[in-house]
Symmetry: C2
Subunit: 332 residues, 2 copies
Amino acid sequence: MNISEFAKIAGVSKSAVSRYFNDGYLSDDKRELIEKAIEETGYSPSISAHSIKTRVTKLVGVIIPKLSSESISRVVEGISEVLNAEGYELLLVNTSNDSSKEISSLELFRNNRVDGVILLATMFSELHMSVLNKMRVPVVIAGQRLEGFNCVCHDDEGAAYALTKLMLDKGCRRPAMIGVTREDMAAGKARWDGFCKAVSEAGLEVPQRFAEVSKFDMESGYDRAKRILSRAKRPDCLFCATDTIAIGAMQYCREAGIRIPEDLMIASVGDTKSGRVAYTPLTTAHLHYKTEGSDAAEMLLLELKKHEPVGKSLRLDFEIIERDSTGKCETV
Amino acid sequence: MNISEFAKIAGVSKSAVSRYFNDGYLSDDKRELIEKAIEETGYSPSISAHSIKTRVTKLVGVIIPKLSSESISRVVEGISEVLNAEGYELLLVNTSNDSSKEISSLELFRNNRVDGVILLATMFSELHMSVLNKMRVPVVIAGQRLEGFNCVCHDDEGAAYALTKLMLDKGCRRPAMIGVTREDMAAGKARWDGFCKAVSEAGLEVPQRFAEVSKFDMESGYDRAKRILSRAKRPDCLFCATDTIAIGAMQYCREAGIRIPEDLMIASVGDTKSGRVAYTPLTTAHLHYKTEGSDAAEMLLLELKKHEPVGKSLRLDFEIIERDSTGKCETV
DNA sequence: CTGAAAGCGCTAACAA
DNA sequence: TTGTTAGCGCTTTCAG
């Protein structure tokens, strides 16, 4: 059923119907007539036809690297809550960590598919920059900082610093770290930087073999922990870039008979459910993922409404949560 | 830029451009001309305008009860993989367990917003049925069985039965269960049924106080476990409807000094990450969530292509995974 | 194989 | 306030 047909049924003109669904420049009688006809027919206007005229789709593209991640789910949850409240729907693209799909989605979104984009990126290449600069719809970047773009991110360096310092303050003297690739500026570089800062402030150094680069999964965490911990001279504390990596490392420790926190303290960033219920509950930095999502959405909304670039960068706080993996009381 | 403008730049007619992006009834020279012009201008046709004529949106609505759930993420991942490969995008709606939002999303999708819908439902009301019957686009229901609709679900009863039987076969004689509301036919009713079947086959009975209904979160699992376990006469095994509930229950046991599996065996359904790395690794039934998603997507694709209702119901298998929470060897 | 022209369902001047 | 009308960007006959 289209608007003409429906207008006929309702006994009003097309324009009246259009006005009913839009500005509402309408007398009460017509309004009633239309409402009654909607009840009967279940008519609802075609969004495509609407978009073609008004150029708004009421769709926001959300690009994520993967779905089955506690943190990412929370971010999307935050986005969805804010955007839905304003009548926007989410066009969700899961790139499965495939950078080229990230690019192609951005290109797809560039023109007319969506009103705006929220990009949960991991790494930025030249290509990213070039595509991002060509976008004709507003974009907000979440989880990473990128000069010149709207973004909301976490204090990754601060969290890593605080966690490392916490262990050093408890008397640890042989710190080790399992991080992720520095190409990821947030979970990678910033967390390495925070760790290094705490270590050098304590007047310590980290031997090459105490610094491993891992992937984002448990298995990789297990493997890197094995490399670091199976040698003669072991570290006395281990900072991991993510909870998942730390859980993998703890699995190794359990098998190898390394006691946590007695033989080795462990801390990491993320505050995931697994970390809370793990064999040894994990000391971690809680990042406000849901807030990341809702803030990003609000930023986008601002651009969408005011039509003036916001161009600001938001940095979210973190909270250190001490659990058994770093010892409950001051040791040594 | 629109098609006319672009056609002029390319030096061909509108129709040629249209054909290029569609059937491709086109000579090679024109094709080349158009390709070159695309390179230069980055032109891509408006999807809205396309939809208005062809009535296809290349969008599939995916309705989920919540996002931050390991199982649901995996389902959506499966959906996304299959659908993206066929050029469809996901319009994701998170209802936050709000049944009315489920209904309103279905209504939104009913007419023209999407080409098809995948519904990850939890409970079905009269209203659901009425809206579902009015849908004009194909619908697939995932995770639940609903007579007369395409669905793909799990063998919830079988999994619950197998898990319970496993514990009883190991000598347990006082079984207890923490389930969820029976209004949820899959995670609720079916799992209760499976549990009861195993229990009665063993010639046992379950006292009222050994059967608790919980919500879907850890806290609730903790609380229900406390109710069951803090009395004098305790059960010797506990079946939980979900891993999350079981984890909550294990937390209580840990605090209360109840040893698992020595004092109490625990098993549950889901095979989540937390269960694998928990204080006591959890015996569980692995459900093929990702397959659920991809199968649902393939079912939808079939309807979308053939335009003939599939109307079948798929039931997925499960796998029992024995871990420490039920003892590694045969006890008693 | 090609282009002109008539719509798809809707919105927004415009004149009433 | 209202209805008429000319498009929005695209597809798809139809006649060449």
